[in-house]
Amino acid sequence: MIPLPEKAKKYVLFLAKTEIFTFAVFWLMCLTVAGTLAQRSMGLFRAQELFFSSFIYWVGYIPLPGGYTTMGVIFIGLLIKLLFDSTLKNGKLGIWITHVGALLLLLGGFLTAAFSQEGAMVIPPNQTVNFVNDYHKLELAVTDTSPADHDQVTAFGAGWLKPGSVMKAPVLPFEIEVVRYFKNVRFDRRNGMIAAAPDLRGFAANFELRGAPEAKEAEQNQAGALLRIRGAGAGKDGTYALFEEMPVRQTLEANGKTYALDLRRARTILPFKLHLIQFEKKMHPGTGMAKSYKSVVTLQDGGISQRALIQMNEPLRHRGYTFYQSSFIEHPAGDTTVLAVVKNAGRTFPYISSIIMCIGLLVHLMIQAPKLIRNRQGE
């Protein structure tokens, strides 16, 4: 227990009042209900952003506390209670321990929300991959394919992808301006009747990008952009169209080198590589129901290459990254595996805090049980 100056005590302890927690926890429940129901119409990602991973949630012009604020209030109240308030400790050891556990759980949640990274690694059969795709963020990558032994990539992050921003880099002989940007895109073949503007290049010469309504689940969107390139030289300068997972890569030549343009999920490069030997799925006999999925991979790190197995409920852990069997893409020539990759700073907290809370509640139940369920003969 830390003693507090008398003056401050009143105000500080106010935050730790049980009433405040009671209302906060009730509000958190309302948020959870709303956030769950909203998933039906707006999809998980947006509902989560709106209700849970937010400080303020607007209903019309009325600001309401979002998930972060509510959990923050609970966290601060709990912290103050544990540090400064003596009423919790006297004779309530079990309760005190439980609350320490709850505090750790919230702390872990905070660390996860603030520092964890997650994404997907897609490995086609017999290929080696050393990067993770972000689930939501995009990047514009300009790849110089001229060096014989490697690709020289310059990537511009999601912050650049808005109309009017101009991207430049010393290694690039040209600059790129974003003319238009679409969160979700569709394209139509240009009508032959109207002559295309003369500066349209590549895909843009034959197709026109248009904005499409956003899909319910954010992952289903296919983003697209119209880019204007300057400084590549006559016949190369002009407007280019890009969208995610484009079947034909857009390229241009400048200074005798070939550059490829890609709008793709932002990549995080890992300090090691995974090579897919085989992806295997097993069905329950005589049904179309999956029994298990697994990927046999080799992990290549620091000159050592070792075999590893990733399957449902059995992830691969390496250097703080964890790889989970998440999905697959079927192909007659061999299935591509999709692994979920997570690096989470708060990962151990739920384990520790659940053990602490378990101990706390058991201690409390042991103290309380005889009082609560009293044998009739004893009364």
């Binding site: 069905m283 005589g286 409920n313 369920i373």
Partner: protein, 632 residues
Amino acid sequence: MKRLLSSILLLSSVVAAASPTPDFTFKELGLVPMLHEGRIKPLDTFARIHLLAFYGRSKLPDQSAMQWLAELLFDESRAYDRRVFNVSDYAVVEALGLERTEGHKYSFYELTQGFQSQAETFSQLLNKKEEERTSVQNHMVEVYEKYLRYLEISRSFSVFLPQFEVSSPKLALALTVQPGERLSFRDLMKRKQFEEGIRRLVTSKGAGLTDDEKRELAELSIRYDRAQRDVQTEIFRIIPPQWQHASDLWLAPTALMGSGLGSPESTQYLNLWKGLYEAYHSGDGRKWNETSARILVESQQHAAKVISPWKIRLENAYNRFDFFTYSLALYIASFLALAFSWMIWPQALARWSFGLLAAGGVFHLAGMVMRVVIMGRPPVATLYESIIFVGLTAVVFGLVLERMRRNGLGTLIGAVSGAILQFMGTRYETSGDTMGMLVAVLNTNFWLATHVVTITIGYGSCFVGGVLGHVYLLSRIFKPKDQAKADEVSRNIVGVSLVSLFFTMFGTILGGIWADQSWGRFWGWDPKENGALWIVLWLLFLLHARLCGIVGKIGMAVGMVLTNVIVALAWFGVNLLNVGLHSYGFTSNIATNLALFCGAEILFSIVTYAMAKQKEQLLDKDESLRKGIVQT
């Protein structure tokens, strides 16, 4: 679709069967193993789940499930005429243009006529997605799917059965068969001339044939077409994995023929089944019994590598004893005994009601343990199992409470929650095999044993708290002066809510840890996760609100009643959202029942809260009056 339907009316066997005599036994045949929906199970289970699906119960008024299955396999015409399909939705009956019948039962032939008259509508319906159809339309499609399933089962042996007979000598000559010779499709496949003959005659539109001969030709051609399609029938997988092929796939008789995977052993085994058919048709009970005994011995030998016979026997026993129905009956009896104990012979009847509850619990537990042994996995993985398990938890809680307090409260809790949940369980059995296989992510015994069991115990405990809440509120209204007893219940409510918090919270955290272990995030705001969180937050809210005086004893009791609503929503409600990882086991009538339950509980809460508060005020007034009198 039209072709399919018109061919069905011709399907009945050429030979009229004798009906099986009472000396036919079906026990041995019921023990024969087969593969169905990815699981090896006895034929008896197969028969029961299908009869449950078609008829709504696992036996017919005059037939056991196995008798029915035998009839369906070996005597189509009778089976097609039997009213086995339960179509309880009048809208569907009307849409099919059928007459309303007593008991909502229809035969296969009746449905065929219905589908035939509405063929157009159905082909349109089948092209639509489930979400695009109305609930009546979905029921219609459901009936149609069951109908096709029925057909498929009935055709399991068709290619081996002598269903072709040419009576006209002229036709027989053209098709190179003897007039009056009975042939199976398997026989005909070896005679290329037969198929060619039919093709030729049909293309020439039966030139030179009489009308009778034309009709016979048309019938033969339809039969032949149908039989060709029957080769794809694969539901009745009774042939154990063929030893020369290292696979765990069982084959249906017809598929075996199509795939060319047969072996001398499998041929011999199938010949036994053919013998069984002959015995059935000739009404020869002795032969039937002998053959089915031999089939059992052979099948167990062949399947010995993949399943041990005692597991099959155990499942058969599980089916026959029907533990859960007994336990339901015992719970109801226990409740009745308890109710009467409030009027007459309080002590004796109270003891009886406790005994009945305990007996019910033993049956319940026995059924549960048998399931665990048969499936080789922890008790809860599906919605059905969670219902059964929550029921058992509540009964155990009730028994423990009763042992400690001996005032009938524990028995009441156990009997009421046990009976309600067991009854709900029986409603779920009709949806298919309750011991179905699990999808990949659930295929882990450790997490099923920890997370799922913990959270379902939490549900059970919440349910107990809910019943206590009802008891408290009612006693405050009807016996407002018996403060001591009510206080006792109130203390129990707090205790139970703590226990509930313990289990739901750890269940939820364990779920998070499972998620962290399996797909890399502790918490993903998935609806089912959120549902579990509602309960935890609600209980936290209640306990802390009580601590700082926001709610009193009555408020706490109302809160526990509402916990029932929240548990129900978290348990069943989120499945209705149809999003996320956990949306298993959706059935459309849950929605109505759930709404009714929640509405009733909320109404109960409001009414009893108002009444209890009013009684409390009156009591306070009395008290202060009395005090006033004493003072003056």
